[in-house]
Symmetry: C2
Subunit: 460 residues, 2 copies
């Protein structure tokens, strides 16, 4: 199955090959990512992959976080210039922001790019998930006049990511990462995690408020209306092909992929069922339906291979995750009807020929929604609360996310991680997650009043 | 001017930043490149940037050509795995071709990708032209059953590149590179060169027939209908952001860019000319025209900034290369007319309001054509023949391309280069360049009969 999307056999650890069908999925995902960034006033840029080491090292927390996993570049073995491959582009962008931003009329400044970034992973690599070349890294970098405007941007970024994940029918938890796990160089980090079919969580997006940490060391200032020079406040936020990995893993089943119509390269496959004597009528009907669907902007493919049976084709296109199949046989032409089959539920419908386009549109919309809803109800079913260590452990062993009472104290939080042998995702930030903790005690430090829930899970 | 497209000030040699307006131009160019590759049955793939050095080194001519300009990658200074950054992807693709190609029904196999490639340039770097990170490298790689089919592919690739350069209104010469300047690992190389405004030539595309040079060392075989195993014959062909550099350099003038409408991010800018009392009518008319143009799929922008004069805006959008400007003042509304101004010729037209859309479409088409024609007549004017060394030298000193009689012998060809202090582009392969050399002698080796013209120029 996956080999049509992504080939695991490339001879370098943590580096894989996107095959044509996979590239088409990517392009559709990228194009939606561009759309939401463009419509919110982000400008697309393209920066070099090389960053001088001195720039990467300017912000002390940042380099501490990335030092161990940075790739160095040299010519013929000799490193003259001390270049690294970008692990993320804050330190590539800042010197240019310094040139581009002059005064308050240049703010806010919102840029993004979709590029490869590189991490010399020491952990075991994993296709599309833990890579040494992350090849679809969308990183946005913004600069603002003050903290207030930068935090407004953080909220906009969260809304942008909600929109992208909703479009892909991928459910998420939004958490403020604990201090000990925020982005290297950030004031704070808000992260999106999804729950994978094995019950582990996977981080699929992060949004960072960087304060003036980077603008100070790169000296990026602007002239205020009063004539003062002030440091800009910056943010950055990123997502990667992990969203595609999540989408594939969450919706797929043992028959193969089940792609949301929004990003399915082929939304409808037509399988003509040829019977002796009616071939011509069937091919004519197939062609007519194909053209109507194209005219309605549906991505359609006709599978008219003569050396394969209809049954073989059904299996093949189910494996490829095509959301809808249209079957056309002699009886259907006779009865002026069409048979539609959904990939996600495997349900079949017989619809009158003259309602076909309407039915297809309606079903494609419904499949997007149903995939979204079923994945959300899975995620909700995997998220529970626990107020004792035993209960929390049991839940974690069953898979999923557990919320436990937490004082907010870092030492106590790290102790909770240890006690539960799991990772803290942080404080819930979802709208519906601002719930009272009233009267509970911190799970690890029983002498402390719990002010928050702390989300804990085993993770990728 | 260029800083709105491309910023030269990034702090790494030979690496530059594409700014939003430049990214938009790129996206339009890339999308046409994808279109012509897709419509000719090429499949888009995406390979990792890392290539194991042993793979790069398998084909002996190939590594000899690339060894000196390859970037090495290491972690924390220690090179464990001997990885390099791809300078081109033949040696990344071949191991996967070996897995994907089983028998003759898998052939021809045609893949392409648009990616960054890396060359540790020793020569002086030059923005968009001589880069250490070539960030818009479109490379196609194909495999075929035999030489005949592979050479058919070479011809298809030549047609694809003609189409792309024509679309960008960039003129070209097509030459078969001499033996001593073919691609490292190729049987032969066909190259596209354009003539830049300073009279030097620049290579903008190459097509290589690779024979079985790569398939032998990577053991890429297919099963023939007879049940034999045969090596595939491969080709590869590439273009890069040099086509954008050429397009910008060739059509621009001292007022700034002059973009072909085909790839202009803004094809029409509307400048409302506000007069007291008629503001409302003018903005209404502006809005109406904008909507009509959008409905006709024209990329349009309204410049209604109130702190800039119309004259300032004219200059600004001329600098940005917007092909057409629409001016709307009170008199135009009164007379039910619109003023159109062409960027390329600076001509102005007054057209009746009810013919506007038609006129805009017609003018956009004509600007594409006129830019193409004027650049072709420049290229032709810069291409001459010479039969003596003195004449050839004089022509070269004036700038441009000189064709001189050549026997086809490599030593003689290299001697011609030396005598003329210029580079041989090779034998003309353009359709209209298959002309008789009848009776002439090789320019360097007078004892030899000339069989060909050899194109010679100073080049980038």
């Amino acid at each position: 199955m996956e080999t049509e999307v992504y080939d695991f056999r490339y001879p370098v650890k943590g580096a894989y090959v996107w095959r044509p069908y996979g590239v088409k999925i990517r392009r559709l995902v990228e194009s939606y990512i561009r759309f939401v960034h463009d419509e919110t006033g982000h400008q697309e840029v393209l920066f070099p992959v090389f960053i001088p080491y001195e720039f990467l090292a300017k912000e002390s927390e940042h380099i501490r976080g990335f030092e161990s996993e940075v790739f160095w570049v040299s010519k013929g073995g000799a490193s003259e210039e001390r270049l690294v491959l970008r692990p993320t582009s804050e330190t590539a962008m800042m010197p240019m922001f310094k040139l581009w931003i002059k005064d308050h009329t240049d703010l806010p400044f919102k840029a993004y790019q979709i590029v490869s970034v590189f991490r010399a992973e020491t952990k075991a690599t994993r296709p599309m998930i833990r890579l040494r070349e992350i090849s679809m890294f969308k990183e946005a970098h913004t600069a603002h006049a003050d903290r207030e405007d930068a935090e407004k941007q953080v909220r906009e970024a969260v809304e942008i990511y909600r929109k992208i994940f909703d479009y892909l029918s991928v459910p998420y938890l939004i958490s403020q990462r604990p201090e000990w796990d925020k982005f290297a160089g950030a004031v704070y980090t808000i992260a999106f995690d999804t729950v994978m079919p094995d019950g582990k969580t996977m981080q699929i997006g992060t949004v960072h408020y960087l304060g003036t940490n980077f603008s100070r060391v790169f000296d990026v200032k602007y002239l205020t209306p009063n004539g003062d020079w002030e440091y800009v406040h910056t943010t950055s936020y990123g997502i990667s092909e992990r969203v595609i990995a999540a989408m594939i893993a969450i919706h797929g089943d043992d028959k193969g992929l089940a792609l949301p119509p929004n990003v399915a390269p082929i939304q409808v496959v037509i399988v003509p069922i040829m019977y002796k004597g009616s071939e011509e009528a069937i091919l004519r009907e197939t062609k007519a339906i194909q053209e109507e669907l194209i005219a309605s902007s549906v991505r359609v493919k006709v599978d008219d291979r003569i050396d394969r049976t209809p049954g073989w084709k059904y299996n093949y296109w189910e494996m490829m995750g095509v959301p809808l199949r249209i079957e056309i046989g002699p009886k259907d032409i006779e009865n002026r009807q069409v048979v539609l089959a959904r990939r996600d539920t495997l349900e079949k419908y017989v619809v009158p020929r003259n309602e076909l386009i309407e039915s297809v549109r309606e079903l494609l919309r419904r499949i997007n929604d149903d995939l979204r809803e079923s994945s959300w109800s899975y995620l909700r079913s995997m998220t529970t609360k626990a107020t004792t260590i035993e209960e929390a452990k049991r839940r974690l062993d069953e898979g999923g996310v557990v919320e436990v009472p937490w004082s907010g104290d870092n030492d106590c939080g790290m102790r909770i991680q240890q006690l539960l042998d799991a990772d803290a995702l942080g404080k819930p930030m979802d709208e519906d997650a601002t719930r009272e903790v009233g009267g509970l005690r911190d799970l690890a430090c029983n002498d402390k009043q719990a002010n928050y829930w702390l989300r804990v899970s085993r993770r990728y």
